[in-house]
Amino acid sequence: MKKNRLIRLSVLVLMPLLLLSCDKDKNNTGYNYMGSQDMYYSKFYKAYSSNPIFRDSMTNQLPVEGTVARGHMPFPYPGATLAERAANQALAGVNVTNPLKADADILANGKAHFEIFCIDCHGKTGKGDGHLFTSGLFPAKPTSLVDTYVQGKPDGEIFYVTTYGSISGLMGPHGSQIQPYDRWSIVHYLRELAK
């Protein structure tokens, strides 16, 4: 009888310790009702899920070569290799002009996108004093966007560098991140910034 009570008491004392010892597993998504049999997680290929149908096993596919998406203008100055970039950058500067007019809306749009995509290296004022450089994280000094070197270039050339990156290779291509409309807005905003 006494032994029985002792066991019970010791269980009571140990219980809180037991509770404190087990965290929820951070890698576990937990349970759900019916799981994959139900509508909860149905079996279709989602944007980022792998896909056995395509050779590169990705659901998101690049557009077929030579096609132009609705609402997009083709930009026929490829810049995948250094040689292409050296030839096409000046060409784009001569042949392509900014399709947008610099009104208040466009400038606001340009500013908003400048402060997301450019500010880290080129800084708020465009002088090349962004946080990534001044804090010593990025080794190379970014180009000033308000000096004559950049401002002397035509709109098309600035657009080209934003799209495919600089010839030095220090600035990466931002064409996939920023839509053409927003890139042209940024070009307008750069002109405004230099004033």
Partner: protein
């Protein structure tokens, strides 16, 4: 026993506490501000459509510290009729007008004393004053909700510590309860029956709580924080390096998905930066390798909604102007990304009911101009997402 009970109920208690504190502030403010500032608050409600106190620029400038920037006499003139002041050629007024995209501030039919009261009200401070307005204007339940919103800091991962795995506890208690039931009716070894009762009642109570908590979290995955293939730290990138969320998640304002950045985006910086703060070269080497081999990194998705719910990032980021932080917590303090909200339907609807629609500079809401007119004329105090059908089932389930 007491410890275990509190462990289960921790997050329930947290809600109760906030509700109580909401009630308390409600009582406090009604006592303090009754009569004296009620009129000022009603007057300031008009200003609130375009101005904040310490909350940043809306249509007009932030009013915090306005009495230090401008003279009182000038403010009174400007508030009563700003256009007249501009036409009279007042340099300060013209400057303010042009700084704020030339949107004129409508004239206000207020006396000098009323404006002075409003200025005192602005001086008395930003957020506290703002929640006072809400508390007095609305009924009790809404008031407590609003205060909960204002007082709850943005969530971080540390919340996981409050929620424990109660499986073992549950089964131990179940066994204990069955033993004591068996002893009570069959073996009758223990003469002191109160021991049986205490064990059975506590087991029922805690067991019930566990069942309730576990059942509500069924299908939710709050604090899910999977190990990623690359030890990537948001704390370093978004926090210390101050990179904007949308530099990498660049489709958040244009697409249903916020977007997992392709490795090429990493290479914009990591073609030069080859050594990291926490892991040295080992993790960045994985990224470089993935880039060179043209093989995407298989990140593990953290925020999973069930497939019978439709959620669109563009609608919330671009149209709704919701900050990333409101749903994803303080990401810039997380080394490993975790889901901090439970993403339950109740959580969605709570926000749809309280979130006020931002009409200004928002092309999407031009079709709702009638509601905006009602808001300006004062016929509606505020327009929430729910007023525009944000509570309809087929908005998210179809």
């Amino acid at each position: 026993m007491i410890i275990s009970a509190s462990a289960v109920k921790n997050h329930l208690k947290c809600k109760r506490f906030l509700l109580l504190s909401g009630l308390f502030t409600f009582l406090l403010f009604t006592q303090l501000s009754f009569g004296q500032t009620a009129e000022t608050e009603a007057n300031f409600a008009v200003c609130k459509a375009c101005h904040t106190i310490g909350g940043g620029k809306l249509v007009g400038p932030d009013l915090q510290g306005v009495t230090e920037r401008r003279s009182e006499a000038w403010i009174i003139k400007f508030v009563q009729n700003s256009q007249a002041l501009i036409e009279a050629g007042d340099q300060e007024a013209i400057q303010v007008f042009e700084e704020n995209s030339k949107i004129p501030m409508p004239p206000n039919n207020l006396t000098d004393d009323q404006i002075k009261d409003i200025l005192l009200y602005i001086e008395s401070g930003g957020k506290v004053a703002a929640s006072e307005v809400v508390v007095v204007e609305t009924d009790e339940t809404v008031a407590s909700q609003e205060t909960v919103q204002a007082e709850t800091p943005s969530k971080s991962v540390s919340g996981r510590k409050d929620i424990r795995n109660m499986q073992i506890t549950f089964f131990v208690l179940l066994v204990l309860m069955l033993i004591s039931l068996f002893d009570l009716f069959v073996t009758k070894r223990l003469k002191a029956k109160w021991i049986h009762y205490i064990i059975i009642l506590t087991a029922l109570y805690i067991g019930g709580e566990v069942i309730f908590v576990e059942a509500t979290s069924l299908g939710r995955q709050q604090y899910y924080q999977p190990d990623q293939p690359v030890w990537f730290s948001h704390k370093v990138h978004a926090g210390q390096n101050q990179i904007d969320c949308m530099y990498c998640h660049f489709t958040a304002d244009k697409s249903m998905h916020a977007g997992i950045p392709p490795v090429a985006v990493c290479m914009n910086c990591h073609n030069q930066v080859k050594s990291g703060k926490n892991t040295g070269e080992s993790e960045i080497a994985k990224v470089t390798e993935a880039y060179n081999n043209r093989k995407p990194i298989e990140w593990i998705k953290v925020h999973n909604l069930p497939d019978h719910v439709y959620f669109n990032h563009a609608q919330h980021v671009e149209v709704g102007k919701v900050d990333c932080e409101e749903c994803h917590g303080v990401v810039e303090e997380m080394d490993e990304i975790a889901q901090v909200e439970d993403l339950s339907m109740g959580w969605c609807i709570d926000c749809h009911r309280t979130k006020e629609v931002q009409f200004v500079n928002n092309k999407f809401y031009e079709q709702y101009s009638k509601m905006h007119e009602k808001l300006i004329s004062g016929e509606m105090k505020k327009v929430t997402v729910a007023d525009m059908g944000g509570e309809d089932c087929q908005r998210c389930h179809y």
